[in-house]
Subunit: 192 residues, 2 copies
DNA sequence: CAGGAGCGCTAGCAATGCTAGAGTTGTCGG
DNA sequence: CCGACAACTCTAGCATTGCTAGCGCTCCTG
C-alpha cells in the first residue's frame, strides 16, 4: 500500500515540477516560447508525460495562473495595509496591481488575458482569485457610497486592467502611466 | 502607360478583396479560423499572393483593424451627438463603445487586443483611430475639470476596454454589464 | 512574331499541439 | 529466485499553422 503512496507522491512532485517549469519559462521568454516540446525538455520527460498530468497546454497555463494569482493577492494585501488612510490605500493597491502586471507580464497575461477556462465570477473560482478580488474590494469599500461594492470593485478592476493591457500592448504611452493611475484612483474616490 | 495604371488598379482591387475577405471570415468565425490557406481560398488565389500584398498575416489584420476603427468612430460620433446633455452623451458613447465590442468582437479584438504593429498614441496613428479617440475625448471634455483631457480620455477608455475584455473573456458576469457601465460613467462625470 | 520580364502557382519547410502504439521498467504470485 | 503481468514512458507520427523557393505560364514590347 505504501508503494502506491510513493507513486502518487512522485506524481504530485512531477506535476509541481511541470507547473514551475512552465511559469519559469513563461516569465523568462513569454508564453509564445512555452511549447510542449521545450517544456518537456525542461522537466526532462517526453511530451506525452505532460498530457498524463494535464488535459492540454491550456490546463497547464490555468494551473500557473492560479499560482500566480496567489502572488498577486499577497502584493495587493501588503499595499492595502501599508497605510491607514483609505484614499492612500486605494492608490497603493492600484499601483501594486499595475506594478505586478509590469513586473510579471507573463503571469498577468495567463491570469487575466489569455483564453483559459478558469471559473471567475462564481463560487467555484479558485481561492487565490477570490482573495485578490477581495483585496480590491476592501480597498474600495470606504469609497463605495451608494454603489454596490461588488460592482464597484469590478468596475475599478476593469479600469486597472484596461490601463495595463493597453499600455503593454503599445496603445498607451508609458510615460504618463502614473498620472493616468492617479486619475483613475481619484475618480473612484469619494469627494470629501 | 495606361497599361501600368490598369495593373495597379487591379492590384488595389485585389488588395481590398483580401481585406474584406479577412474581415468577413473573422467576423463569421473568429480570427483563429482565419488561416492563410482559407483566406487564399476565399479570394480564389494561392497563398503566396497574400504575401505579395502584405508582409504577413499580421499586416492583413492591421489593415482590417484600421477599416474597423472607422466603423467604431462612426458609432461613437452618432452616440455623442444623439443628445445635448453632456452627461447623457458620455453615457451614450460608453454604451456605444461596449455595444460595438459586443456586436463585432473580431473587429474589436484586432483593433485593441491582437495586432500590435499599429502606431497608436503618436501622430502617425491611422486617421480612423485618431477619430475614434477624438470622439471619446469630446464626450469627456465637459467632465474634465482640472484633469488633462488627453489623460482623462485615455483613462476612461481604459475603463471601457477593461469592462468589455474582462466580460468577453468570462472574467465578469454578463448580466450586470449595464450597471457597471453606469458606475464607470458616473465616476467619470463631474459632481454637479 | 520572337524575346523577355513580370507574376501566380505547386510544392515544400520548420514548428505547433496532440496521440497511438511499441518497448521497458518494476512489481507481485508462485 | 523466477517469470508473467501491469503500469508507465518514449519514439514516431499526424494534421495544421505561417511562410517561402523556384518553376512555368502569360502577356507586353520591339
Amino acid at each position: 500500500m505504501s508503494i502506491q503512496a510513493r507513486r502518487e507522491r512522485e506524481r504530485a512532485e512531477r506535476e509541481r515540477l511541470i507547473i514551475t517549469a512552465a511559469r519559469t519559462l513563461a516569465e523568462a521568454e513569454g508564453w509564445e516560447a512555452v511549447t510542449t516540446r521545450r517544456l518537456a525538455e525542461r522537466v526532462e520527460y517526453s511530451q506525452p508525460v505532460l498530457y498524463s498530468h494535464f488535459k492540454g497546454k491550456d490546463a497547464i497555463m490555468a494551473a500557473v495562473a492560479v499560482e500566480g494569482c496567489a502572488d498577486l493577492a499577497v502584493d495587493l494585501r501588503a499595499a492595502r495595509t501599508s497605510t491607514d488612510d483609505p484614499r492612500q490605500a486605494l492608490a497603493a493597491v492600484g499601483a501594486a496591481y499595475a506594478a505586478f502586471a509590469e513586473r510579471r507580464p507573463a503571469l498577468y497575461d495567463v491570469i487575466f488575458s489569455l483564453a483559459v477556462d478558469l471559473p471567475f465570477a462564481t463560487p467555484e473560482a479558485p481561492a487565490p482569485l477570490q482573495a485578490a478580488f477581495g483585496e480590491l474590494s476592501q480597498a474600495l469599500e470606504p469609497q463605495a457610497g451608494d454603489d454596490d461594492l461588488g460592482l464597484l470593485t469590478e468596475t475599478f478592476w476593469s479600469g486597472l486592467h484596461g490601463l495595463v493591457t493597453l499600455m503593454r500592448g503599445g496603445r498607451l504611452p508609458r510615460e504618463a502611466h502614473d498620472r493616468r493611475l492617479a486619475i483613475l484612483v481619484d475618480r473612484f474616490s469619494q469627494r470629501p
